[in-house]
């Protein structure tokens, strides 16, 4: 909220620089977001009296002026045509600065000395649309040699406050003035509200009926003999500084009061109130109404309207109607000053897409007792501006008057809670500046005024004390008390281990959106009946493409690969640890998964190796890899299910060519998705020491020819089974197809290490086992020894 500084000073006598005030108010709880200083950059510009003007000897369009700037008369060359002898004008002296950082220095213009510059309104940064072309001519009698900033009222500026939702009272300048008064411990001046009523009765002009409790109070006054015209310049200036456009004197008064007190008002032209009856009621569903901005709006029964006998004349608390607008020939005005239910105004404004100065104040739930003050203030201004006559009496429908709230707070508790030590008298003093009545006994008995609905409990009072005492003065202390056990959970620790394994293998962690497009399922060829298509849907998504919560991480990692590939990043190894979201009975189920993706000079076994690394580090054995032809997103021949303790916990492999095409990648893509919880469950922490071997090993190689479709796992199974007594290790070292190997066959070579723990093996023993392995391979797999 923009507060012109001089308006604030009307209610508190602060003798401080505007920036100092901004800082102090920020630290006491009224945050100043910006300080806009008038004429901040203007320096060494004074008023000057033009004594004499002569033609420039060398230039037709230039004139040479002798200007009295107080202490001396200086010569200035100007190109302006509007300056006359005897004018008072702003003079930028040698070494002066103008807005925009322009520096003025003395020099010669076409051979004639010029010791400064006569300024236009534009050059002083104060021009508006209607400003005169040429040099700014100041009123006759303006003192000479005085700083222009003083003459033009360019001292001070505007304070722009961020007002928090709990402080409805600070949506008016008077509320800010109260805060300033408490901050600087200076008295708050009273607001002028006196005026005279004529001897007529408002009842003869208008009648009001409130039909709905959403209107908590409705008050009105009538002004007659109104002379519509522009409001005085000072008022217009203040409105503009506060960000409100001046309209005419009556409307300006309602806005002025709103800015000052935070209470929105509305003015109706009495002529257009049909039946001279104001009815506050709910709108009818589908009721049409054209607001002041000329837009026809469709209302519904959740909204409150101000109506006359024929129809609505205003949307309560939001905006008035075009039908009852103040016109140039308006002579009788009805001032409305009411209080409406905040949340309802907020909803109405939201539904209509019409957030106004008025609605943004009402939605904070204003104090109904503000109504009297505001209405009186408006009438006072009417009288002060001499633009009308206040009709006697007022209408005021106020069923349940709000009363001040009383609470008792132990000052010792406040000191303990905040960690300070100040006297109860000082606390009472602070609270009094905020408009509270305080009785100091053992406890503080506090009467909270109705404009502070936010103060109800002792903690609220503690905050008032703390902020006026100064948060910066509260000491800093370490937490005392018993030490709390702090440790990572097993899941958090293992997640870190997995991330570290992946990083050490050259993978980069990514972070992708958790909501995705429903189109992704087709893109990854997910079957129509897949349970993964059952998603948590967002009712109000940013768009279709962000409308469902992901049930798999694969599309996200593919999309990331796509983006990189399109940018010519052709070697990419990435992973993500993130949640997926699955509908469940009450709350969705949110398991954490790991996804891995890679493109570039890599193959299936690079990916499998990484997964094996992870399993190894987690101490997980009993792992099986099953061919997974059922997974339609992956290449049927290059895809595996990861089985841990007989349960599938994830899958990995090469992405199906059609899916790769869907992601516009012309390279082979490898991805994996693994559930983390099953990994954590299978995690084996214990490691046990096994004595190092005492007896030598025997190393035998074996190379066999088998049919292509025989899996090496089948060969290894047989080797282990037959040789389990003495086989220590089985290492695959070569798989070969091509020359010297018949079509449809492959050569597989192993190095088998035999060893016993209790004694040295004899050649015979080893030969016996080795032979039976070869025999068994031949019988079971048709393997031929090479």
């Amino acid at each position: 909220m923009k507060v012109p500084y001089n308006w604030l000073l009307e209610y508190v006598d602060i003798e401080k620089d505007i920036r100092e005030v901004a800082d102090a108010l920020t630290m006491s709880g009224s945050k100043v977001e910006e300080v806009i200083e008038y004429g901040k950059e203007i320096d060494k510009v004074v008023t000057g009296y033009v004594e004499k003007i002569e033609k420039h000897p060398n230039a037709d369009k230039l004139r040479v002026c002798q200007v009295n700037v107080g202490e001396e008369v200086i010569q200035i060359v100007t190109g302006a045509e509007n300056v006359q002898e005897g004018d008072t004008v702003p003079v930028a002296l040698h070494g002066s600065t103008l807005p925009g950082g322009v520096k003025i220095k003395k020099g010669k213009l076409r051979g004639v000395d010029s010791n400064g510059m006569l300024c236009s309104e534009a050059e002083l940064g104060i021009a508006d649309d209607d400003s005169v072309h040429g040099i700014m001519i100041l009123p006759k009698g303006t003192p000479i040699g005085v700083d222009i900033k003083e003459i033009l009222g360019l001292k001070g500026g505007i304070l722009d406050f961020e007002i928090t939702s709990n402080r409805a009272d600070c949506f008016g300048i008077y509320g800010i003035a109260r805060e300033a008064s408490a901050t600087f411990r200076l008295p708050l001046k009273e607001i002028k509200t006196s005026f005279k009523e004529n001897d007529e009765n408002i009842k003869d002009y208008v009648d009001v009926e409130v039909k709905d409790d959403l209107c908590r109070r409705y008050a009105a006054r009538v002004i007659k003999n109104v002379k519509i015209g522009p409001s005085p310049e000072w008022m217009q200036q203040r409105l503009m500084d506060a960000g409100v456009r001046p309209i005419n004197n009556i409307v300006d008064i309602t806005n002025y009061v709103m800015l000052e007190l935070g209470q929105p008002m509305h003015a109706f032209d009495h002529r257009f109130i049909n039946g001279k009856r104001i009815i506050v009621r709910r709108a009818e569903d589908g009721e049409k109404f054209t607001t002041l901005d000329g837009v026809e709006r469709t209302l519904d029964s959740s909204m409150l309207v101000i109506a006359d006998e024929k129809g609505a004349v205003a949307v309560a608390g939001v905006m008035g109607g075009l039908n009852s607008e103040i016109k140039d020939d308006t002579t009788i005005v009805v001032f409305e000053c009411a209080n409406f239910n905040g949340p309802n105004v907020r909803l109405t404004a939201k539904k209509l897409g019409l957030r106004t100065e008025s609605s943004s104040r009402f939605e904070k739930d204003l104090d109904p007792n503000l109504v009297d003050l505001a209405l009186d203030r408006a009438c006072h201004l009417v009288e002060a501006l001499e633009i009308g006559e206040v009709v006697g009496g007022k209408i005021d429908i106020y069923k349940n008057p709000v009363k001040p709230y009383t609470l008792e707070v132990d000052p010792n508790w406040i000191n303990e809670f905040i960690g300070i030590n100040i006297s109860k008298e000082e606390m009472a003093d602070m609270l009094k500046y905020l408009g509270m009545k305080v009785e100091v006994g053992e406890k503080l008995k506090i009467e909270v005024p109705t404009f502070r609905q936010d103060i109800r409990i002792k903690e609220d009072v503690a905050e008032e004390i703390a902020r006026l005492y100064g948060y910066d003065k509260i000491p800093t202390e370490k937490i005392k008390g018993e030490a709390v056990e702090a440790a990572l959970t097993k899941e958090q620790r293992l997640t870190n281990i997995i991330r570290n394994v992946l990083v050490s293998r050259g993978f980069f962690e990514i972070n992708t959106y958790s909501f995705v497009s429903p189109k992704i399922f087709d893109k990854i060829r997910l079957p129509e009946d897949s349970p993964l298509r059952n998603t948590v849907k967002i009712l109000n998504p940013l768009g279709e493409d962000f409308s469902i919560m992901r049930t798999t991480l694969i599309p996200s990692i593919l999309e990331t690969l796509r983006i990189n590939y399109a940018r010519d990043n052709k070697e990419v190894k990435i992973f993500e640890v993130a949640k997926t979201y699955h509908p469940a009975e009450n709350m969705p189920y949110e398991p954490v998964k790991l996804s891995i993706g890679m493109i570039g000079k890599v193959d299936f076994f690079d990916l499998k190796g990484v997964i094996e690394n992870i399993l190894y580090v987690l101490g997980i054995d009993k792992v099986d890899y099953e061919r997974d032809e059922e997974n339609p997103g992956l290449h049927p021949g290059r895809c595996a299910k990861l089985i841990v303790r007989r349960k599938p916990i994830g899958y990995f492999g090469e992405v199906h060519p059609e899916v790769a095409e869907n992601y516009e990648i012309e390279d082979r893509i490898y991805v994996a998705e693994i559930g983390l919880m099953p990994l954590f469950e299978a995690y084996k922490a214990e490691r046990k020491y096994k004595p190092l071997p005492k007896y030598p090993a025997v190393d035998r190689d074996i190379a066999v020819l088998v049919k292509d479709e025989v899996a090496v796992a089948e060969i290894e199974d047989i080797i282990w089974k037959i040789g389990k007594e003495i086989v220590e290790e089985v290492k695959l070292f070569d798989v070969y197809k091509g020359k010297q190997v018949p079509e449809g066959m492959k050569s597989v070579a192993y190095s088998i290490i035999y060893r016993r723990e209790d004694r040295t093996l004899t050649d015979e023993e080893v030969n016996k086992v080795h032979e039976s392995i070869i025999k068994s391979l031949s019988e079971k797999l048709g393997a031929q020894l090479r």
Binding site: T164, R467, P475, K480, F508, N511, S514, L542
Partner: protein, 339 residues
């Protein structure tokens, strides 16, 4: 025989001197000292000497033998040294050539900074709590003193799943969830994803990260809040960091504050990052509202606490000088490699 020995000695010496490699030395050793070597042959012939001569010649022969052996050893070690030097000379490499690397990946900048922040809070006795991202309206709003139609709901544009389910707009719902599960003393931080229906631009993302903090115990004061967060700020931003607590308003804390830290880019002088103010707003905090404690099943007359929440993305962006939040969620590998 004496002359013969002298001759052998001189001959051997001559040959040893001329030898230039260890192979030749070996040949010399065999020639003189080997089983069929000339010295050995002479020693075999000792039997023909008179008993008087035998010890004298024997002694001389041994001296010659020792002499030759020593000369051979010396020559050999010289040659070996020379050979080694030569070998070393031929083995110079260009040590400026690149090392053989196993390519190492990297942690996402958000998590990297988060890990750092977690470590600091671990050191202060905080554990890590977690909570659901699809959250009940109750925990996200109502339990935090934000009933339906509260104006604060407008400030946090919410994604709804159903009337009662939202994508959490903040990590604060973990406060009440934690209190329901844990008896004080409580000291946790809770980092995680949060969601707001903001349109995407350089400074807004509909998904971002927050870190919540909660401390509940007997006798927790606002001075403790300041002390804890000031310690965090100094550890994270540097020992010289100053902090400023400004009053603010949050529905679920009372009193409430915002904490600024002195700009860690310019040190408080004023720069582009801090918009000339010398301060950067880092987090919101306050004493846990008694209503919130009550909702968490904790008696506010017996216990008090403080809570805080900060936006991780903003901190990461300022720390690394990242000017567009979208970079954090786009995952261009050239971006990720920089951290």
């Amino acid at each position: 025989m004496r002359e013969q020995l002298e001759k052998i000695k001189l001959e051997a010496l001559e040959e040893i001197k001329e030898a230039t490699n260890s192979q030749r030395i070996d040949e010399i050793r065999v020639k003189y000292l080997g089983k069929k070597g000339s010295l050995t042959t002479i020693l075999r012939g000792m039997g023909s000497l008179s008993p008087e001569e035998r010890p004298i010649i024997g002694k001389l022969a041994n001296e010659v033998r020792e002499f030759i052996e020593e000369e051979i050893n010396n020559a050999l070690s010289n040659i070996k040294n020379k050979e080694r030097e030569l070998k070393i000379k031929g083995e110079y490499i260009d040590i400026t050539m690149p090392g053989k690397k196993v390519e190492i990946g990297g942690i996402h900048p958000l998590n990297k900074v988060l890990d750092e922040i977690k470590d600091i809070f671990f050191g202060m006795g905080f554990s890590i709590a977690e909570g659901p991202e699809v959250e009940l309206d109750y925990y996200n709003f109502e339990a935090l003193n934000v009933p339906k139609n509260h104006p604060a709901r407008d400030e946090q544009d919410t994604f709804y799943i159903s009337e009662n389910l939202v994508l959490r707009t903040q990590t604060s719902p973990i406060q009440v969830r934690t209190m329901e599960k844990t008896k004080p003393p409580i000291r946790i931080i809770a980092p995680g994803r949060v969601y707001r229906s903001d349109a995407v631009d350089a400074t807004h993302s509909p998904i971002f990260y927050q870190i919540e903090g909660l401390v509940v115990d007997k006798g927790i004061t606002m001075a403790n809040l300041k002390g804890t967060l000031e310690t965090f700020a100094k550890r994270f931003f540097g020992e010289k960091t100053r902090t400023k607590f400004r009053p603010h308003h949050f529905p679920f804390t009372e009193p409430s504050a915002e904490m600024d830290v002195s700009c860690f880019v310019c040190g408080g002088e004023g720069c582009r990052v801090c918009k000339g103010s010398g301060w950067i707003e880092i987090l919101g905090c306050g004493m846990v509202h008694p209503d919130v404690l009550t909702k968490g099943g904790i008696d506010p007359e017996e216990y008090s606490g403080f809570a805080f929440g900060m936006g991780l993305d903003r901190i990461v962006m300022i720390k690394y000088g990242i000017d567009d939040i979208r970079l954090l969620y786009e995952n261009d590998i050239r971006f990720l490699k920089q951290f």
